[in-house]
């Protein structure tokens, strides 16, 4: 059965198959992230990159195979994992402030039921750790250069600033594994630099970073490892060595025949 060992990879998928209706999106993918490294998942549109993360964190049902975290299921390990969803899945007009977004990452248990529009002294009576949560929130926003925007509604920030707030929320979670879905999509240069240096700092501190990435040009500069995905795993390994022309052609240029579910013997 599942090995309960901290030596196991922080994130691994084995023979993962995910389908939307009858159409397979991921086919028999086996891959694992190296602990303390930054890994990028790349591939053409519709290759199943985001699906891999979504299936791993339980947002999309897995048809067969499994995703494990330090050898455990996601449910058992989720307190050690920070997940940053894709920009497109968010309604940015929602009236929530940057600080309130970050607090979503550090609110636990009964604190969810303490309304935060009450005066501060009453919140301190109701829930311990209000002051600590506030300083954590502030610290995380400061790390991404957004402390001055804490009380701004998220919809009034630029795309890059919004992405930085999302990273701050993940940082505040103080996780050991960071799963990010397209963190660099549509951000400005300043944000790009902040994201890269913060993620790099996490990896240096021994944390593991896995990001879905769309830009092949800069993968080798930003990431240590890469997994090239096109429904199946095309190639994986150290970024520079893996992203050969042959691999890229295989993943991006070659039209792949659509897989059919009935070509497999089910269970």
């Amino acid at each position: 059965m599942i090995a309960r060992s901290n030596q196991a990879e922080p994130f691994a998928v084995e023979n993962l198959v995910v389908a939307y209706r009858a159409e397979p999106v991921l086919w028999n993918v086996t891959w694992s992230a190296r602990a303390g490294a930054m890994s990028a998942i790349v591939g053409p549109n519709g290759a199943g990159k985001s699906t891999l993360l979504n299936a791993a964190v339980g947002l999309v049902p897995i048809v067969s195979g499994r995703a494990t975290f330090w050898g455990e299921t996601f449910k058992d390990a989720r307190h050690r994992i920070a997940y940053v969803p894709q920009r497109e899945s968010i309604d940015w007009d929602f009236p929530i402030t940057a600080a309130q977004v970050v607090e979503m990452g550090i609110t636990h248990g009964a604190a969810w039921l303490v309304p935060d529009f009450l005066p501060r002294w009453s919140r301190r009576l109701l829930g311990k750790g209000t002051a600590r949560a506030e300083s954590k929130t502030h610290g995380a926003l400061e790390r991404v250069g957004m402390a001055d925007f804490a009380r701004r509604p998220i919809g009034e920030l630029s795309g890059g600033q919004q992405q930085r707030v999302f990273l701050a929320r993940a940082l505040a979670q103080e996780a050991e594994l960071y799963l990010l879905d397209e963190p660099f999509a549509g951000v400005d240069v300043a944000t790009e630099e902040i994201l890269t240096s913060e993620l790099r700092a996490l990896a240096r501190a021994g944390k593991t970073v896995v990001a879905v990435h769309h830009d092949l040009e800069d993968v080798a500069d930003r990431f240590d490892d890469v997994a090239v995905l096109h429904r199946e795993l095309v190639a994986s390994g150290p970024a520079k060595a893996t992203l050969t022309e042959a691999t890229i052609v295989r993943a991006f240029r070659q039209p792949r025949a659509p897989l059919a579910l009935d070509s497999t013997a089910h269970g």
Binding site: P85, S89, I96, Q100, P115
Partner: protein, 308 residues
């Protein structure tokens, strides 16, 4: 000498309280529907209630509040589920799914009224559309204090139901505040953190459905829809934070209830020489508040200059 109870207490206190409570609660819960761009769900629920009422009447043979409430709630929940199923599994556009479900159920309700003979027992369509606010009088004893136990026992049942829904909704929004904000804003993140965004949305929808049904008998469907959508839409134009938005929406709803009722019972007799339908007047007040807000917003917005 003990003074007789005033006309206001007997005739106006209960309907006014009912309309203000319902307006507050509907606008409060409606603010979350509008936030999710699902304002039309309220419309769908209000119209879907009709077949539920008729079926409950046919089964039990009575117009007692309990079976009526259960029938209406069942129909509204069925409508919500049908909309969710059409959207999710048949991949019908959400607005189209809402339109299809509520027109079909409303038509089914009309057919049932015609064929089952429910029409003869004053389950008539006028009531469904505009409610029976006028029937909510308070049969208070001559000379009794309005706060005495006996007087309170005589409060009309729909008013008590509305008060219960008000208390439940306010409590749910207060204690569910953070959960609502987090799960409605970022569903994937909250789900990955182990919260249950689907459950939160479901509970919110159940509360909304119950309030719609509870408001239905007194206020009618037009007013229910107006109060679910107009105050939140106006509040959204005037506020930047969730707390201000939700609070203002509820206050605007209650104000529409108060102003609309006052106009129908006090203003209209002076202006046009007779009382008018209170439900219509409140719905119109809600619409006017939204129109005034929209106008102010447009006028306040700086005009873009070509030179920048």
């Amino acid at each position: 000498m003990i003074p007789p109870p005033s006309d206001f207490l007997v005739l106006d206190a209960a309907p006014l309280a009912a309309v203000v409570l319902a307006a507050f609660t509907l606008a409060l819960l409606g603010s979350f529907l509008v936030l999710q761009r699902q304002a039309m769900i309220g419309d769908a629920m209000a119209h879907s209630v009709l077949p539920g009422l008729v079926i409950a009447f046919v089964i039990t043979g009575s117009r007692a509040p309990a079976p009526m409430f259960m029938g209406a709630l069942g129909a509204a929940l069925f409508a919500s589920l049908a909309i969710a199923a059409l959207t999710r599994y048949a991949r019908v556009e959400p607005t189209a799914a809402i339109g299809v479900v509520f027109t079909t159920l409303f038509a089914l309700g009309v057919l049932l009224v015609e064929t089952t003979g429910a029409r003869n027992v004053d389950l008539d369509l006028d009531c469904v559309l505009s409610g029976q606010l006028e029937l909510l009088f308070w049969p208070i004893e001559r000379g009794a204090s309005p706060w005495s136990g006996e007087s309170l026992d005589r409060l009309p049942q729909p008013l008590l139901t509305l008060a219960t829904m008000w208390a439940m909704s306010v409590g749910a929004v207060l204690f569910g505040w953070r959960l609502l904000r987090a799960t409605l804003f970022d569903r994937p993140f909250t789900q990955a953190r182990g919260l249950r965004p689907g459950l939160v949305r479901g509970a919110l929808l159940l509360l909304t459905t119950s309030t719609v049904v509870a408001s239905f008998e007194a206020l009618g469907s037009i007013l229910v829809i107006a109060l679910l959508t107009c105050p939140p839409a106006a509040a959204r134009l005037l506020t930047r934070t969730l707390g201000a938005y939700v609070a203002l929406s509820a206050v605007l709803g209650a104000s529409a209830g108060l102003l609309g009722y006052a106009f129908a019972t006090r203003g209209a007799p002076i202006l046009i020489g007779g009382t008018i339908d209170a439900s219509g007047s409140v719905a119109a007040a809600a619409g006017l508040i939204l129109a005034a807000t929209a106008m102010v917003t447009v006028l306040r917005r700086p005009v873009a200059s070509p030179t920048g």
